[in-house]
């Protein structure tokens, strides 16, 4: 698959995960999740509300940048995306840096809202294209936001799954670990085992291939949604669409 096709496949895959949501929020620098949310809204009018942070046109919040956080705490946001320079098998994420805090090398930008949103949004999708032992580690060096909390800790949200350019894992809350759900075209169970730094559950015999994107949905993406995506993510749009 070309890079453009595999990005489109990820967009369609994520769009399907958002179909049961009313309100999806996406960070400003997350073009694939952002495109997916716009696609789901265009294809199914569900989610009804898509908020792209940092965008003027695709952001309907009017109460300042804390409104997103207030919304989340009230359960008014159904899905959100987080990444991480490191993600471990307990779904802990590290956005701070490698090595020991505070003198990390490299230091990444910082925790942003993750230490809060991860607790309060029911469907947090971990999305990181790079699937390597550098990113998917046994234990993160710094917990920007924990994947699991003690039962007495107030927590209405958390990790739903982890999507990379090789596979999709669902997070098993009861067991506190990921389980491999599907393998993208071009990868294999062996490839995934080789490139994942944490242990995860999988079915040796029957792990399915990630389904190809639905051609109708791809058509909506190409025809209707590409213009909107160009509006918000012009550079990204140039890499996947031929305008």
């Amino acid at each position: 698959m070309s890079d453009a096709s595999s990005k489109k496949a990820l967009i369609c895959f994520i769009a399907n995960l958002l179909r049961d949501c009313n309100h999806v929020a996406v960070g400003a620098s997350s073009p694939i999740p952002g495109a997916a949310a716009l696609l789901a809204k265009a294809a199914w009018s569900s989610p009804r509300h898509v908020n792209i942070l940092g965008s003027v046109k695709n952001n309907f919040l009017t109460n300042g940048s804390q409104e997103l956080f207030d919304c989340a705490a009230q359960g008014r946001i159904d899905a959100f995306f987080l990444g991480g320079g490191q993600i471990d098998g307990s779904a802990n994420i590290n956005l701070m840096g490698r090595g020991e805090y505070p003198n990390n090398t490299p230091r990444w930008p910082g925790t942003f809202g993750s230490a809060y949103l991860y607790f309060l949004i029911p469907k947090v999708i971990l999305f990181r294209e790079e699937h390597s032992r550098r990113v998917l580690v046994d234990t993160v060096d710094f917990v920007s936001a924990p994947g699991c909390s003690a039962p007495e800790t107030y927590r209405t949200g958390g990790p739903y799954g982890l999507l990379t350019n090789k596979a999709f894992f669902k997070f098993e809350k009861e067991k506190g670990c990921f389980s491999l759900k599907s393998i993208h075209a071009g990868s294999s169970l062996e490839d995934i085992l080789d490139n994942t730094g944490f242990d995860f559950l999988y079915d040796k015999e029957n792990t399915p291939a990630t389904p190809e994107p639905n051609p109708e949905l791809l058509k909506v993406l190409e025809n209707e949604v590409s213009v909107k995506i160009r509006d918000v993510y012009p550079q990204f749009s140039d890499t996947i669409f031929t305008h």
Binding site: S65, T111, A115, F142
Partner: protein
């Protein structure tokens, strides 16, 4: 109240606790260049709730002693080399937070409260390393229910760029209400604007809905394209070529110093 940006910048003293907005809210870059020209020292920067090129430049130029923020990001122009270098050398103190905690701390100040409670955070290493936060029991729960208490963050000055202001110092910020909160949390606000307009902005109820009243504002200066090279939500987009150039040269102290000389001390602005 209405003054030149040189004068406005001169009101910001060494050691000032300075609240600045994220890139999407309107960053006072023209004033920032003036702060560097005036060689400010020991600024305590509060990124509300994050910061970008503005902090990177101030850090690189040696103006900053404390950075309190939830992130410092140049977006697609990452990494922020001068920020990284300062962390490596330990030349700045970090107070790393998470976005809503910055808002909560400011809101406590805005409301004259000692603290605000906030959900989440428990179990994050942010909490372990933050010098100010405490974990308390929710007084309304019979069960064990811990919640983080965020003490008030009280900046001396809020500094940002806005579309326009009137001569009495009322500033239109539209729906960028984090600027209202940030300002009301601070002792005063210094604001650069694209332009000064005639009349009183509060006389028109449609405009008034987006006005920060002059009660809270200490100084306003006209600075057209005052966010350059960053984008402005009510104006131009970012100057990609310039930002690419910055990324290319800022990897070394020498390259950064040349950048400062060219674009700040010599003031070469396209």
């Amino acid at each position: 109240m209405i003054m030149k940006i040189e004068e406005l910048a001169s009101l910001i003293k060494d050691g000032c606790k300075l609240a600045i907005p994220a890139d999407y809210s309107g960053v006072a870059m023209a004033v920032t260049r003036e702060l560097i020209r005036q060689k400010k020292k020991k600024l305590h920067i509060i990124g509300v709730p994050t910061s970008g090129l503005q902090s990177e430049l101030l850090i690189g130029a040696g103006c900053v002693s404390v950075l309190e923020s939830s992130a410092l990001t140049l977006g697609e122009y990452n990494p922020a080399s001068r920020f990284s270098a300062a962390i490596k050398s330990g030349s700045i103190k970090l107070i790393d937070a998470t976005c809503p905690a910055i808002h909560a701390g400011l809101q406590a100040s805005q409301k004259g409260l000692p603290f605000m409670p906030l959900r989440g955070i428990i179990g994050s290493d942010i909490l372990k390393n933050h010098p100010d936060w405490k974990v308390i029991q929710n007084p309304f729960s019979q069960d064990d229910d811990k919640i983080v208490a965020i003490p008030a963050i009280k900046p001396d000055v809020a500094l940002f760029h806005a579309p326009f202001a009137d001569r009495e110092g009322n500033v239109w910020v539209g729906r960028r209400r984090e600027l209202v909160h940030m300002t009301q949390a601070s002792k005063t606000a210094y604001v650069s604007v694209e332009k000064i307009v005639d009349g009183n902005l509060l006389d028109d109820e449609t405009l008034a809905a987006g006005v920060l009243p002059n009660l809270y504002v200490g100084a306003v200066a006209e600075a057209p394209s005052g966010c350059w090279p960053l984008s402005f939500w009510h104006g131009e987009g970012e100057d990609k070529e310039h930002l690419d150039h910055y990324k290319a040269v800022a990897g070394t102290q020498d390259g950064f110093d040349e950048y400062l000389q060219q674009f700040i001390f010599d003031g070469e602005i396209p």
